[in-house]
Symmetry: C2
Subunit: 706 residues, 2 copies
C-alpha cells in the first residue's frame, strides 16, 4: 500500500453525520438486495432507519420500494450522508456532487486507491482534497461501511448482517480490516453478543480507527468497545480516546496484530500504516488501561463479559463446583490470570461441613455430586460464599446438570434469586440450553463451557477495575525542564551529562582536564580514588582504545595513568579529536541500571529502564512506557522488573534507593519528551543506584537528524 499524502490537514470531529445522519443517499443503488449497492438499502430498511433514504440510480424510478433519483442534485430534501457504491474511477465526480449537495459524510466502498499503487494513492489524495474543500468526512475508501443499531443507520455491505439481524446490544466494534471485521461480526452474532455499533475503516484516508474510538466512547449507546488494528495512524487521538474511556469507565479491548516479524511485514504490505514496535503499543495500552486480546476468542469473551457484568470490585474469586477436578482446574486458571482464591472463613466451613460431611467447602467450594441428592446444598453453599466469603467474582461449575430438563431450570432460578441483589460478576460453566442461556444472561450471569475461559473473562473484569481505579498520570505535575535545541552534530559525554544534570539527575563531581598534571592535581585535591576517561566526540567505545582507567589512587598514579591513556588513544584512534580527560571520584557500590529514551516511529518518545549487565543483555528484562511518566509509574516499572529483587534487598543485599532511581527515570522521560523536536535518543548507562541516591556514570545523547 502506498502512503497517502499525510500533509492534507485533518479537521476534528464531524463524525455525528457519519454515525447518526437524518438522511442517507445511496449512490449506485441496486434493486438487488444481495448486491453491494443493494445491501445498504436492504439493511437500512430492515433496521428501521428513522431518517430519509434516497436511492440514486438514473436507470430506475424505484429501488427496493423507494423512490429513486437520477442524481444527488435531484433529491428534494437535504442529504447528511451518502453511500458511494460506484467504481474508483467515478468517485471524484461523486464526491464533487456530494459537496455541491451539502453532504457532510460519505462512505466509499470501492477499492483501487492507496491499497493498490501510486496512481491509486494519488486518486485517494484527490478525493481527500475535495472532501476538505467541502468539509465532508470520508469513511474508507476500500472499507465495508458501518452500522449503528440505535438509529438503524446501516450503510454497509458486510455479509455479517446477512440472515438474521444482529441482537441488540451496547458493544461497539471498530475494525481496520473489512473481511476480518465481518468474521468478528459473524462470530459475535453466533454467540448472540450485541454489537450495537460496528465500523470498518479501510484505508483511513480521512476517518481513523482512533477517531471512531473517540466517537464510540462518548456515545451513550455504547458501554464497551473492541478494536481490531493492524497499524496506528494517529497515536495522539488513540491515546486521548483510551484515556477518556478509562475516565468514563468503559472497557476497551484491543486486538493489535503485526506482533511478530513475519506478521509485521505482512501488515506493512497490507496497509501503509507503520506498525511501530509492538512493545511500544503494549506500553501505551498498559498506560491507558486498555486490555490487549491475543486471539479473536479472547476479544469476544471479554466483550461478552463486559456486556453482561460491570467491572469487578477486586480480584478475590470464589469457586463453586460440583466436580473436585474442575475446582482444581479453575484454581489453576485463577492463579495464571492473577486472581486470588482466598479460603472460606473457618466458621462457614465448619457449618457447611456439618450439613454435608462429604463436601469440601474451602474454596474451591466442592459440593460434590451430593448436590444431586439434596438440591438445597447448592443454595446453602452459594449463600455462604456470598454472605461470608467476601468474594469479588464468582465462578460456578455445574457441567451438564444445567442442561437437565428437571434440574436445569431449578438451578437457573436458584442462581437468579440468590444473585440478583448482588453486585458481582458471575460466570456459570456448563452446558446450557438456549432458552435458559438467555435467562441467565438477562440476570447478569455469563455462561461458558470452557472453565478456563470463564475464569479469564472474570479476570478481565477485575483488570478493568484496577485500571479504572488507578490514579491517572497527571502530566501537569511534571516539571518544566526547559527547551534544549540540539544541533545535528555529535555530542560528547560531558555535554550529555551536563544536560541530564540540568534535568535534575545527579552526576559525579568531575572535571575535564587537558594534561596529565591537571589530572593528578585534581586527584590530590579530591583525596579519593578516581576514575578517568578519555573524552572525544569521535570515540564511542572508550575502553577499546585504552580510554578508561579505574581506581587510581593519589596524584602520581593518576598522572601516570593519564599519560599512558593519551598515548594509547593517540596510537589506536589517531584521527579522533580529543576534548580532554574526564576525572571523577569512584562511584562506589550499588546496582547499575540502564535508562534510555528513544523515539518509536509510531508512538513517539518512549522511555526504557532495565538492570545492567546480563539482565538487559541476555534476559531482555526491561520495562517500557511512553514519555513523559511520573515518578510513581517509573517506580512501578522498576518494581516490575524480574531482577527487581536486586534493588529490594534480596538474599541479604542492601535495600537500594528505588525512589531516587524512579525520579531519575521520570526526569529523563520528561527531558526527552519536552525536547522531542530535536532529540532522537538519550541513554544513561549506567545509572548507579546506591543505598542513598543515584548517580549517572555515563550518558549519550543523539540529536534528531532532520
Amino acid at each position: 500500500m502506498v502512503q497517502s499524502n499525510p500533509k492534507i490537514s485533518q479537521p476534528q470531529n464531524g463524525l455525528d453525520k457519519l454515525f447518526s445522519p437524518a438522511s442517507v443517499a445511496v449512490v449506485g443503488a441496486s434493486a438487488d438486495p444481495a448486491r453491494i449497492g443493494g445491501r445498504p438499502i436492504s439493511y437500512l430498511l430492515r433496521a428501521g432507519f428513522k431518517g430519509q433514504i434516497y436511492p440514486v440510480n438514473p436507470n430506475r424510478d424505484t429501488v427496493q420500494g423507494l423512490a429513486s433519483y437520477p442524481d444527488l442534485a435531484s433529491i428534494p430534501g437535504p442529504v447528511d450522508f451518502a453511500v458511494l457504491s460506484v467504481s474508483a474511477g467515478a468517485i471524484v465526480d461523486a464526491m464533487r456532487a456530494c459537496g455541491e449537495k451539502g453532504v457532510r459524510a460519505v462512505v466509499i466502498f470501492s477499492a483501487g486507491f492507496s491499497e493498490m499503487n501510486a496512481q491509486g494513492a494519488a486518486l485517494q489524495d484527490e478525493v481527500l482534497t475535495i472532501a476538505r474543500h467541502y468539509g465532508i468526512r470520508v469513511l474508507g475508501p476500500n472499507c465495508l461501511g458501518l452500522y449503528n443499531a440505535a438509529n438503524g443507520h446501516s450503510p454497509t455491505f458486510t455479509s455479517g448482517l446477512e440472515g438474521a439481524a444482529p441482537p441488540l446490544g451496547r458493544i461497539g466494534l471498530i475494525t481496520q480490516s473489512g473481511a476480518y471485521g465481518t468474521h468478528l461480526l459473524s462470530m459475535a452474532k453466533a454467540r448472540r453478543l450485541g454489537i450495537g455499533m460496528w465500523v470498518s475503516t479501510g484505508n483511513e484516508a480521512d476517518v481513523t480507527t482512533a477517531e471512531c474510538l473517540e466517537y464510540l466512547i462518548e456515545s451513550p449507546d455504547v458501554d464497551a468497545v473492541g478494536l481490531y488494528m493492524e497499524g496506528i495512524r494517529d497515536p495522539e487521538t488513540l491515546i486521548r480516546a483510551l484515556n477518556r474511556a478509562r475516565a468514563l469507565r468503559k472497557p476497551v479491548v484491543v486486538m493489535k496484530v503485526g506482533v511478530s516479524e513475519v506478521g509485521s511485514a505482512a501488515a506493512q504490505s497490507h496497509t501503509a500504516s507503520l506498525a511501530g514496535a509492538d512493545a511500544s503499543v503494549q506500553a501505551v495500552l498498559d498506560q491507558t488501561g486498555a486490555m490487549r486480546a491475543r486471539t479473536t476468542e479472547d476479544l469476544l469473551d471479554v466483550l461478552y463479559a463486559a456486556s453482561i457484568a460491570a467491572p469487578a470490585k477486586g480480584d478475590k474469586l470464589g469457586i463453586l463446583t460440583l466436580s473436585g477436578g474442575a475446582g482444581v482446574l479453575m484454581a489453576d486458571a485463577a492463579d495464571a490470570e492473577g486472581l486470588s482464591v482466598p479460603p472460606m472463613p473457618a466458621a462457614a466451613v465448619a457449618r457447611l461441613l456439618e450439613r454435608n460431611p462429604f463436601s469440601a467447602p474451602y474454596n474451591p467450594v466442592d459440593i460434590t455430586a451430593h448436590a444431586l441428592n439434596d438440591f438445597s446444598l447448592i443454595e446453602e453453599n452459594l449463600t455462604a460464599m456470598l454472605d461470608d466469603g467476601g468474594y469479588d467474582l464468582l465462578v460456578a461449575f455445574f457441567t451438564s446438570l444445567t442442561a437437565s430438563p428437571v434440574l436445569g431450570p431449578r438451578i437457573q432460578k436458584t442462581l437468579s434469586d440468590l444473585l440478583k441483589s448482588r453486585d458481582l460478576p458471575v460466570a456459570l460453566v456448563g452446558q446450557v440450553p438456549d432458552a435458559l442461556l438467555q435467562a441467565y444472561e438477562a440476570d447478569g450471569i455469563m455462561v461458558f463451557d470452557d472453565p478456563s475461559r470463564a475464569v479469564a473473562a472474570l479476570a478481565a473484569l477485575a483488570g478493568f477495575q484496577r485500571a479504572f481505579d488507578a490514579v491517572p498520570e497527571d502530566a501537569s505535575d511534571l516539571p518544566d525542564l526547559g527547551k534544549i535545541e540540539l544541533q545535528p552534530r555529535s555530542y560528547g559525554e560531558d555535554e550529555a551529562k551536563a544536560l541530564i544534570q540540568k534535568a535534575g539527575i545527579e552526576i559525579l563531581q568531575e572535571v575535564l582536564v587537558q594534561t596529565p598534571e591537571e589530572a593528578g592535581a585534581f586527584a590530590a585535591r579530591l583525596g579519593l580514588p578516581v576514575a578517568m576517561k578519555i573524552v572525544s566526540p569521535d570515540i564511542a567505545h572508550k575502553s577499546e582504545v585504552g580510554g578508561v582507567a579505574l581506581n587510581l589512587t593519589g596524584q602520581q598514579a593518576t598522572q601516570d595513568a593519564a599519560r599512558d591513556m593519551l598515548a594509547s588513544v593517540a596510537a589506536r584512534a589517531p584521527q579522533a579529536r580529543i576534548s580532554g580527560l574526564l576525572v571523577s571520584p569512584m562511584a562506589g557500590d550499588g546496582v547499575e541500571l540502564i535508562l534510555g529514551a528513544k523515539r518509536d516511529e509510531v508512538m513517539g518518545m518512549m522511555i526504557m529502564v532495565g538492570l545492567g549487565g546480563v539482565f538487559t543483555e541476555i534476559m531482555q528484562d526491561v520495562a517500557l512506557a511512553r514519555a513523559p511518566i511520573t515518578p510513581g509509574r517509573a517506580e512501578a516499572m522498576l518494581r516490575g522488573l524480574k531482577g527487581a529483587p536486586l534493588l529490594q534487598g534480596a538474599r541479604g543485599r542492601p535495600t537500594l534507593d528505588i525512589t531516587a532511581a524512579a525520579k531519575a527515570v521520570s526526569r529523563l522521560s520528561v527531558l526527552a519528551e519536552q525536547n522531542a523536536a530535536t532529540i532522537e535518543s538519550i541513554e544513561i548507562n549506567p545509572l548507579l543506584v546506591r543505598e542513598t541516591g543515584v548517580v549517572a556514570l555515563d550518558a549519550l545523547i543523539l540529536p534528531r537528524q532532520t
Copy 2:
C-alpha cells in the same frame, strides 16, 4: 481423601476383560434407564453390545426387556465383567460373589471409600484384598465407569452418553474425575469429536490412569489419547505408556491440573494422590513427547486435529487468506506457536501477481476479495502453494464465504479436489454449515472459527512429529557408575567430591590438611594461588563462620590464613567437629553452573541445571529432567537456558566447553538415579565451565532418611 494401603501388590495387565468382555452382569440393575443402575443396561443395549448382558435384581424377572437373575450365582453362563451398582456397604459381599462366579473385572460406581474417611479407606483395602485373592481387576470405586464404542461395552452412568449416542471415532479419553470427564465428553459430543473409548478411574484403588493409557495406546481402535489427571499414582507405568505411544506414533495430550499452589492444595484434598512438583510433571511430558494442554479447549482442539490429520512433516506453515488482516493475525499466531512462515518462491509470486495484480501472494498468500469476482483465483493460488511452496501445514481463511449457499459448496469441492492426494494437515477457518462441515472433515480438513486456535492445533501436529522423530534416549548407553550405599549420616564436602569424582566429574586437585603448617607446605609445593575451606560435617555455610579464604599466595600467607580460619571457626562454631582444611588451587575463569539431583515425591529422581548467581537465584532460569539423562539431552537443556548465550560466547565472551558440562550433568544424573535407594539429593554448586573442561568446586550430598 485417605490414602489406601499401597502395599497390597498390584498384578499387571488383565485389562482386556475390563474393556472388552464377552459377558456383562449388572448387579443392582434398574428397570428405569435414567437411574444409575439402569443406565449401563440402556447404554449397552443402544450401543449394540455383542456379548451377553445379565441384569441382577432379585425383585424382577426382566429388566429393560432382558431376563433378570436374583444373584450372580444363578447366571447360567460365564460372566467376564460386572457392574457393581450397589451401596458401599454391599460391595464386599458383591465382590465375593464376583470372585466365586469367576468374574475377571468389575466397575464400582459407589462413593464412600477412601475419598471419604479412614473407615472408607479400610473398606477400600478390604475390597482390594478380595480382588487380589480372586484375581479381579477393579475400576473405581467412586467412578463413572467406561465405554468402548468398538464393541458397545458401556458400563457407565455418565450423563455424557445421554441424548444422542456419541459419534464414532478413534480418540481415547481417560479421566480421573468423573464429573469433569462427563463435561469433556459432552463438549466433545457437541463438536462431534469421535471418542471411541472413555474411562473414568475415580479412586484408582486398583486400575490406574497410567494402566488405562497403556491399554488404550496398544488398542488397534485408538489413534490418539487425551488424559485428564489430578494426581499420578504409578509414574513408572505412565512413563512406559508415554514412551510406547511415542514409539507407535500415537499422540497423547495430557491435562494435568494442580499446577498452582491453591490448585495443588485443592487437588490434594480431592484425591489422595500426591501432586508432585508441576515442573517435574512437565519435564517428564517433554521427555516422553506428550503434549500438555492447559485448557479444556486446547485438549479438545488437539484431539480434534489428531482425529482428522496425521502429524505434520515439518513446521513450515502456508497461510492462504481472503483477508489481509486475518493473514497478519495468523502469521503472528504461527510465530507464537513456533511455526515458520517461509515466503513463496519468487517465480510463483511473479506468476500469481501477473494473474491478479491486486493480490499479495507472498505467504500469507492474500488473494483479497477479488476471489469473489474470479473464483478460479482460489484454485490457482492454492495449487501454487501446494506445488511450489514446500509447506508442511496449511491454514486457509475464508470467513463467512464458506457459509454462502452458492460459493460454500464450490469452495468445499475445490479444497477437497486439490487436497485429497496431498499428505499435509489443513485447517479451514470460516463459518461452515453442518452438512459441509462433515464433508470437510471426511476429506481430512479440520474446521475452526478462531484462526488462532486453528494455527495452534496445526502447531500441535508439528510438535508431535518432532517428538516422534526425536531419537529416544537410550539408557543402555549410560555407564554403570556402581552402587554407593550411603548411610543416614552427614557427609562432608570431601566425601561428596570423592563420590562425584568417582562418577567421572573432575574436581580440583586438593588436599585435606590438619595444620596450618601442612596448608602452607602444600601451597608452596603447588606454586599457584590457592583457596582454602574448613571441612566439617556440622558446618553448612562455611563463609559465615570465616571458613573460606581465596587467592592465597605462597607458604607464609597460606599458613597465616589457616591459623586465622581455625581460630574463627572455633570461636563461631565451637560445637562443630572439624575434619581439617581443604586446600586447592584457585579455579580460574569461566561461568558457574548449579547442578542438582533431587527426589520428586512422585516422579522420583530429577536432575536440575542452571547458571549460577542471579540466573538461578533471581530469574529461576533452570532446566529439569527425570534422571538418568544422556549427554545429548543434558546439552539440549543447557542450550535451552535463557542465559545460554553466556556459555556460547555472547558479546565477545569466550565460547565455553558445553560438551564437558553436558557430560557432567549426565554423569550426575546417572549417579543419582543408580543410587536412588540411598541418595536424597546431590548438588554441585558451582560447577565451573571453562574454555576447556569443567571442574566441580563444591559438592553436597544428602543421604535418604529411612
